[in-house]
């Protein structure tokens, strides 16, 4: 199987719920965003349009980040397609950050907690497994998925813009949506074969 996600740009309103639900789920330190929301404007007044694009690791089928990783810290699990980073193995060379065409990897060399006074009890607990000076990124909430839940950004999306499922199953909702609504990945020309698809706004 291959886990994948479909994000309906027609539904998304850029509320940042995904970005912040992800922060809450993973307790990521400042400047590390497993999920983010991008805003972009096109056109001229008055026919201008605002486009919102929630992004996360695309868990590519051909992940360039995995290819360039010298230690094997970045790897793709062939059983489910999830690309993850082993923080105990990452050497912090950041080649993967230069290889990921989607800029979804972050180097954890910034402050390790949000308040200068020190980590909150929440951060002490949720952030305990994070290591400094390694690269971090979204892991499709694999612990939640293993426990039968949806990834945090999917479960929380207030506009129900996100669907999570098996791309290898042609009958799954993700496969159906991609087919019926013209789902597209980001930068398909790069041959990375992302597992995150978007539905047109």
């Amino acid at each position: 199987m291959r886990w994948g996600m479909v994000i309906d740009l027609k539904r998304c309103i850029a509320c940042y719920g995904c970005q912040l639900a992800c922060k809450a789920e993973h307790g990521t330190p400042p400047g590390v965003f497993f999920a983010r929301v991008l805003k972009h404007e096109e056109g001229q007044f008055p026919s201008v349009r605002q486009l919102f694009l929630p992004v996360l690791c695309n868990h590519c089928e051909e992940p360039p980040c995995v290819d360039v990783c010298p230690t094997g810290a970045s790897s793709k699990n062939d059983a489910d397609g999830i690309v993850s980073i082993d923080p105990d193995v990452c050497v912090g060379c950041r080649s993967c950050m230069m290889a990921c065409p989607y800029s979804n990897r972050y180097f954890n060399d910034k402050p390790q907690h949000y308040f200068p006074q020190g980590p909150t009890p929440f951060e002490q607990r949720r952030g305990a497994d994070h290591q400094r000076d390694v690269v971090m990124k979204c892991n499709f909430c694999k612990d939640r998925v293993a426990a039968g839940k949806e990834p945090a950004c999917v479960a929380n999306c207030v506009t129900v813009a996100r669907v999570f499922g098996d791309l290898d199953d042609p009958n799954s909702e993700v496969s159906r949506l991609i087919k019926e609504r013209g789902g597209f990945p980001l930068h398909p020309e790069l041959g990375t074969k992302p597992s995150v698809y978007y539905l047109p706004a």
Binding site: D8, K10, R11, C12, I13, A14, C15, Y16, G17, Q19, L20, A21, K23, A24, E25, P30, R36, V37, K39, E41, G43, Q44, F45, P46, V48, R49, Q50, F52, Y114, F115, P116, Q117, G118, T120, P121, F122, E123, Q124, R125, R126, A155, N156, C157, V158, T159, V160, A161
Partner: protein, 866 residues
């Protein structure tokens, strides 16, 4: 008091506690995941209708507000007697005993002197604070209760009109069935507001289903960004557009719902001389022209279909016309061409949008919902703060509201809905039932309300007893005159029999939430004593004598975190839902819940019996659960009493703590109540003339001129002061809007939300049209000064964008903290309110709405932060 033993006992383990968010007044239902003593996650509670298990960014970020080390943990007393913007209070930590006894002494003496000298101000963010403060105020005996100051972020016009026309606090499209919605300066379903998270989900579903949305707004963000069409408009001119649309519908296209107007409005009521109803001599009822009998008869004696809407009639020799005829004539001057010059929207567009609205309304059609055949009008004209936050507040919202009334799109399937104005109540106990009902003239009175005075009938104006003057200016809800530059002058002229002396503030940072800070600071410094209950030491608390550390949303208890249903329960079909808020974590340090503090103060002042009585009345407790005499109930017991009173003895606080929410299905007759309620709404405000006359009779002799043009029975377009500014160089209309990431000034201290806002192109910047900016030589990212006519100015970083009207200058509201008590928030964003004057001149003379727009000029500022 402060009994948290139940929490402390649950020291270890793993629990998902159902409770309620309080990062905004949406009060979504949440589950707090507590592991040992730490909340490790907040998720939406899927069992609840409020949020439906999904939260906005603020909600999930709530735990960082809870765990903020800058939270207040001990009571503080000021040591510096001087109060001012640049005065350090010199906080000294004191014991609760010391703090409470001092506060109680002051309040006791004050109450003995004149209880009206107490002003109580509370934040709207914690909507559940309404009940404890209503009760406390009633017990204390002061009429002065203000929600977060003078109305920034609040809809003086929106709530008045929503109450008058829909029997509810606010309106929203029926997202489940609506096909065509026009938003005027509103972001409902796309950012903040009532039932915000629920509405986001419903609006997304509607968009997905194919609902078309036209958004009229000076800025293309939030709702406009997701709309099928953005209609850029000159700031503050929404009313002109709406009037022109009414003109197109009524006089150009003749598209209106005759049957609805006949049966559900006062359109057929005959208007005689002096803009007054023709009344039946014997019954006193307003009369209509009975087409069948060819005579004027009391409205309740004539079948709606026989009521004339047009024409000139003569009754007993007196010339009169149906209200609709007068509306039709009144509208003629509001041509699309006229509106184009005011709004900058091309007349052709106005005609097209009006025609689309009229066509999509499917006048005359019906639909079956859950077996019930109902009128189907799948269009809605929706407004909120943006369009009504102006001098012309009332007319703007009135004109927009008329669009719905003309096509019968009011509380029927697919139309503009009030938030749940009719409920059959909880079946098992028969409680919580309410419904709009008619007054003697057949006009609608609401079934329930949020406080202040009812939207209708309009109260009799009198010389003010409220320092905000709302008992004189009876259309006003919140008032700027608690704090305005000229409040003392107005109080003198209007003979206010006392002066405010003590302020009890709960969570409101009015220094940042009303207008320029100098005016507010002057007003706050006038109080002889100020108590501030808050979770942070805000800019406003810096004027307090005593600051009391409150519990946060994860530490507190509310039996009605989301009631009344007209406030923030999603409208439309679905379920009724009653959630509570319960403590998940114990207080930190010496924090105490404000509810307990109010009870304790009441005991010390000696008003417990009054407080109990006030709780009985305001919670409408059933006899077996009424609070007795001056018995010292804990807040738990009061909550328990309310819950059992409403839901039966088996569903008390313990039941709710375990289950979190109680819900039951809505019926189509409740949601789409309009056809089932024998009420009419006023498309012609016949009642306004006498109110004006009374106000004028009180104000004119006292040297206050109240302009009559604001008190006409039919809406007009009246420009804001900003529209009349002729000063050279002042070529932009500055306005503010609510950001999706922030709740007023409160959430900028949350580091996750702050971080996201820093990444957002707009949250902390000044939006100016890119071409306008270029013409002025301003580059994207440049620091600029924005200056109003009076020389007040704010500094900020520019974001050049194509997504704002060329004359507009947009700023996300209530940012720009400067105090030390919220260090994450300090210096973030732009303090828009500093551009707002706070005086009579800038206030709507009918509903006291402070104008949110200001004519400004911009100039390049030096590099760097403020």
């Amino acid at each position: 008091m402060n009994d948290m033993t139940d929490i402390k006992a649950q020291g270890t383990g793993d629990a998902w506690v159902p409770t309620s968010c309080a990062l905004c007044y949406g009060s979504c239902s949440i589950l707090a995941h507590r592991v040992d003593d730490v909340v490790v996650k907040i998720e939406g509670n899927p069992e609840s209708v409020v949020g439906k298990g999904r939260l906005c960014g603020k909600g999930v970020a709530g735990l960082m507000t809870h765990y903020d080390p800058n939270r207040l943990t001990v009571p503080l007393r000021r040591t510096n007697p001087k109060k001012g913007l640049n005065e350090d209070p010199g906080w000294k930590e004191i014991s609760w005993e010391e703090a409470l006894s001092e506060c109680a002494d002051v309040l006791r003496r004050l109450r003995a002197d004149d209880p009206r000298k107490l002003t109580v101000q509370r934040t709207t963010t914690v909507s559940a604070s309404r009940m404890p403060f209503l009760a406390f105020n009633a017990a204390f005996g002061t009429p002065n209760l203000s929600a977060a100051g003078g109305g920034m972020h609040c809809g003086n016009g929106a709530h008045l009109l929503s109450g008058l026309m829909h029997g509810s606090w606010s309106v929203v499209p029926d997202f489940q069935y609506c096909n065509y919605a026009i938003f005027f300066g509103a972001s409902k379903g796309h950012a903040a507001g009532h039932a915000s998270a629920s509405n986001m989900g419903m609006a997304a579903e509607a968009r997905s289903r194919g609902m078309r949305m036209v958004v009229v707004d000076p800025m293309c963000n939030f709702a406009a960004a997701k709309a099928t069409e953005w209609v850029p408009i000159r700031v503050g001119t929404d009313g002109a557009l709406a009037l022109a649309m009414c003109q197109v519908l009524v006089n150009e296209l003749a598209v209106f719902d005759e049957a609805y107007l006949q049966a559900k409005t006062n359109a057929p009521y005959l208007i005689g001389p002096k803009q007054r109803y023709m009344r039946d001599a014997t019954t006193g009822k307003p009369m209509v022209w009975d087409l069948k009998q060819g005579a004027a008869r009391p409205f309740n004696a004539v079948a709606a279909a026989d009521m004339a809407l047009d024409g000139d009639f003569e009754v007993d020799g007196v010339a009169c016309q149906p209200a609709f005829e007068l509306l039709r004539r009144h509208l003629r001057k509001f041509t699309p061409e006229w509106a184009e010059t005011i709004t900058t929207i091309p007349a052709a567009n106005i005609r097209r949008i009006s025609a689309e609205f009229g066509r999509e309304a499917r006048i005359g059609s019906t639909i079956v919902v859950e077996g019930v055949t109902l009128p189907y009008r799948p269009v809605a004209a929706i407004a909120f703060r943006g369009s009504q936050g102006h001098m012309n507040s009332v007319y703007n919202f009135f004109a927009i509201s008329l669009l719905n009334q003309l096509v019968g799109a009011a509380d029927v399937v697919g139309s503009c809905l009030g938030f749940n104005p009719a409920s059959n109540g909880f079946e098992e106990t028969g409680r919580l039932a309410y419904k709009p009902h008619p007054d003697a003239d057949g006009l609608m009175k609401t079934g329930t309300w949020m406080g202040y005075h009812l939207p209708y009938p309009i109260a009799e104006p009198k010389l003010p007893e409220k320092s905000g003057l709302q008992d004189l200016f009876v259309f006003g809800l919140t008032s700027p005159f608690l704090d305005s530059d000229d409040s003392e002058a107005l109080w003198q002229k209007l003979e206010l029999p006392y002066r405010p002396e003590v302020m009890l503030n709960f969570g409101a940072n009015l220094l940042m939430s009303i207008a320029n800070k100098e005016s507010l600071a002057n007003s706050l410094a006038r109080y002889k004593f100020m108590i501030s209950i808050d979770i942070f030491a805000t800019e406003t608390s810096a004027f307090a004598d005593i600051v009391l550390p409150d519990c946060g949303h994860l530490q507190t208890l509310d039996s009605r975190s989301n009631y009344p249903f007209i406030f923030s329960l999603p409208a439309g079909m679905g379920e009724w839902c009653w959630p509570i808020r319960q403590p998940v974590l114990p207080p930190d340090g010496e924090q105490r819940r404000f509810q307990d503090v109010l009870l304790e103060l009441a005991d010390r002042i000696g008003i417990r019996a009054d407080l109990n009585a006030a709780y009985n009345a305001s919670m409408n407790l059933a006899p077996p659960y009424r609070l007795q005499g001056d018995r010292k109930y804990s807040y738990e017991e009061i909550c328990d009493a309310e819950l059992k009173s409403n839901f039966g003895p088996e569903r008390g606080l313990d039941w709710f703590k375990e289950h979190g929410v109680l819900k039951w299905p809505k019926k189509p007759e409740e949601v789409y109540w309009r056809p089932f309620a024998d009420v009419r709404v006023p498309i012609y405000w016949e009642f306004i003339g006498p109110v004006y006359e009374k106000i004028e009779s009180l104000t004119a002799p006292r040297g206050i001129k109240v302009p009559a043009e604001y008190y006409q029975p039919l809406p007009d377009f009246l420009p804001c002061l900003s529209h009349q500014c002729k000063a050279p160089g002042f070529d932009l209309y500055a306005f503010y809007y609510r950001d999706i990431l922030h709740t007023n000034s409160f959430t900028m201290e949350n580091p996750w939300l702050d971080e996201a806002a820093q990444l957002d192109p707009l949250s902390y910047t000044i939006a100016i049209n890119a071409d306008t900016g270029r013409k002025k030589g301003i580059a994207d990212g440049a620091w600029i000064w924005v200056e109003n006519e009076k020389g007040r100015r704010v500094k900020g970083r520019v974001h050049l964008t194509q997504a704002v009207h060329p004359e507009g200058l947009g700023v996300a509201a209530c940012a720009g903290h400067w105090g030390e008590g919220m260090p994450i928030a300090k210096g973030k964003g732009v303090f828009f309110n500093d551009l707002l004057e706070l005086d009579w001149e800038h206030t709507s003379p009918i509903n006291l709405n402070l104008d949110l727009c200001a004519r400004v000029k911009v100039s390049l500022a030096g590099e760097g932060q403020r």
